[in-house]
Symmetry: C2
Subunit: 443 residues, 2 copies
């Protein structure tokens, strides 16, 4: 079988471009309307995409005066989308920093049951101060957040395994519903968590949801190498993409994993036109709708530099050392400004489309060329598609780029399996407790 690429639809309100809500082709009032997301899910499924994905944070971040913020909680929304789709994977972002593993394990197991095996978890550690303030704590340090995340994954893994696959007997006549020898208290007692278990939701179709990770700091990449099965990443140039890809794959061996066990999916915001001119026109239209005050605040937040309108036509000032927020995004933004010698205004325009993700304007063929190049030159196993406008940018992608990829033999014509793991060509994990029993019998 030839290697096929994997495509994830990253959904965000009415589009990824920060001015999407001002564009005449969007309807910002649909931000909290489930029908909007149902429509997006159906479009993505029509395009045979592997999955759709919702980002999340647990604070109102960014200035809502100038952007359409305040949408829906991802897990709740994805459960609603499960009912109207059949094949597409459903990936929700949930933080390990302000949650309890028991709740998280249970909600994902439930979503996996409800969707027939299509749940995925984008694991994040909540980099911002604003989030900490909604939970009455000081923001934990970067390393401490990742240490907690590690133990969190250990606990949820045990909980998902706590019911073996064949624990349920359903023997009505004998009055035996389950074999309690195959339902295990996990008795976890660690540094951050003490959890007895077992989970009170039975083992789900995928055994555990697909695990996705999106931090690119040193800690983030090590975390991905240990736990993730797919990695979302923001990479601006092909060289950087190749370097990141190689780096992630190289780390796996130390954890007894194979290169194929983790898929690397860089983000791309495709601005699609039937001609290049049309694509550039749309890009310009969006640029003209940018509100500098909004981007300035975002950029100040990302970099830790206080910026004002006076700075717009100057280069990015020197940057103080800051290590506790989102490290990799900060580095990417600063590198971009330095490399291309951008003024603050130019940098804002570059970030408005994808907050640091690559933005490519062109025809469907040109977009497909870009994807193909990264896919064939060791920079990507697939892509995180971030349409600038929604639903328009997604339907353009599905109706024009996907067929081009199919013709080139790069993408599926039909779903091959039933679960999200099937879509990504990943295996279903066995319960660690079942393995232990077999080992005990064998030994």
């Amino acid at each position: 079988m030839t290697r096929k690429l994997h495509l994830n639809a990253f959904l965000m309100g009415v589009g990824h471009h920060e001015a999407a809500w001002r564009h005449p082709r969007t309807e910002p009032s649909r931000l909290t309307d489930v029908r909007h997301y149902q429509e997006l899910a159906r479009i993505a499924e029509r395009g045979k995409l592997d999955s759709l994905f919702l980002a999340d944070g647990v604070a109102l971040q960014g200035n809502v005066r100038h952007n359409a913020l305040g949408g829906l909680e991802p897990l709740t929304l994805l459960a609603a989308l499960a009912s109207v789709t059949d094949h597409i994977g459903l990936i929700a972002t949930v933080s390990t920093t302000y949650n309890e593993p028991f709740h998280v394990a249970r909600k994902f197991a439930s979503l996996d049951h409800i969707s027939g095996g299509r749940a995925g978890w984008n694991i994040v550690t909540s980099a911002s101060e604003a989030e900490a303030l909604n939970f009455g704590v000081e923001r934990p340090a970067h390393a401490a957040r990742y240490a907690r995340a590690d133990e969190f994954l250990d606990v949820v893994g045990k909980l998902w395994d706590s019911w073996e696959d064949d624990a349920i007997l359903g023997d009505r006549a004998g009055g035996l519903y389950a074999d309690t020898g195959k339902i295990h208290p996990i008795e976890h007692a660690g540094h951050h968590f003490a959890v007895r278990g077992p989970l009170n939701t039975s083992r789900s179709p995928q055994g555990r949801p697909l695990l996705v990770q999106a931090g690119s700091s040193e800690d983030g990449k090590e975390f991905a190498a240990r736990h993730a099965e797919a990695v979302f990443t923001a990479q601006q140039t092909l060289e950087e993409g190749q370097e990141f890809y190689t780096d992630i794959k190289r780390r796996l061996a130390a954890h007894g994993r194979q290169p194929g066990d983790v898929l690397v999916l860089p983000g791309i915001s495709p601005i699609i036109g039937s001609t290049e001119r049309e694509a550039l026109h749309l890009e310009k239209e969006l640029e003209d709708l940018i509100i500098p005050a909004y981007g300035l605040a975002q950029l100040s937040h990302m970099t830790g530099i206080e910026l004002s309108e006076d700075d717009l036509d100057r280069p990015l000032p020197d940057v103080p050392t800051e290590t506790e927020g989102a490290q990799s995004r900060r580095k990417l933004v600063i590198d971009l400004a330095r490399r291309e010698r951008l003024t603050v205004r130019q940098l804002l325009n570059r970030l408005a489309g994808g907050r640091g993700h690559r933005v490519v304007a062109g025809t469907p063929e040109q977009i497909a060329d870009q994807l193909q190049e990264w896919f064939f030159t060791g920079a990507a196993d697939g892509f995180n598609i971030m349409p600038p406008l929604l639903p328009l940018g997604l339907s353009d992608f599905v109706d024009h780029v996907v067929p081009e990829l199919q013709i080139r033999g790069l993408f599926r014509y039909e779903y091959e399996g039933r679960t999200l793991r099937d879509n990504y060509g990943l295996t279903r994990p066995a319960s660690r407790y079942a393995a232990r029993l077999e080992a005990a019998v064998a030994g």
Copy 2:
């Protein structure tokens, strides 16, 4: 308008009877199948019921060897049901003891958006030791749990109010998405929680979900009087029902509330036959499927007495004083055994149908008579319907009891409004911040 009664469908796996999973008319393999619940939701909506409700606990409780346990997390499941229903309210149980108010406020606001204003929250405080052990803490004392619940309600109330109704401007030309003067940090700093806010989900259709409460201890009733808009309760006799009803309504004045502000809904498990004989036959069938070991463990847990099979044909032994678990259910069970001089086996049979809720076997007319009597004699504003078998017991209720109630003028023929609050005839709350501003302008 004549007073109409309100009906809530309390869904539980394949039925409320603890032996339901062994009965040939159920399919226990559907316990984690969303289509089972979609079917139940559609039946309840066909019957014009006000709402459906899912109980919950955050531990595997009861012996799964002998009962179909390990189902789905309610909020996730209700989001999936929102997509396939239009009118029925969706009430999820969530504990205030092991959750964070920010997450809970957000998930319910999201469910309320997704369902177009049909979300309700059954607020519980998690009475069991087993739950505490999944969160690495000692079970907090009864009073401490309710104190935390009180502050929890204060915080979530502020978060739901944090976006005023008219905060969103959606002014594309002017680049003004929201009036940030109408989106309020809540700056809560209390004994249990410190939460800055605002919520990052905009104000939902109902303003806040319907608040339901189900504890009947002294603390529980006071909590209901302060916060609840509907109360679920287990009452065995008409006199007890009247006493409880009067008690709840009487408490409201002290909190500036009217008797109509809180609906009292006692539970009832109707065992329906087209003749009385048929109903009694079904009741006997279910009784014969009971596994005493299962009920004994439940009863030991509820009462705090260690019971064994040797105790089955003796009266319930004397009961040690225990004050930190679920107080009201324990009292109800002990009172029932004493009042009717039941042996342990007889008590188990009485509890198997509804875990302490009233069980009534009879024809649709006889069931309707019972509901009518309680409704007309000051014991109920409506009922929490707990079908012994699902879906069968629910479709029997909807197809045979509901029409009888309609003919008697006791129940609606059509939904009158769109939201859960509309179904229950309750008002939509204003944001406290809007009120404060108006007061400031007026003053």
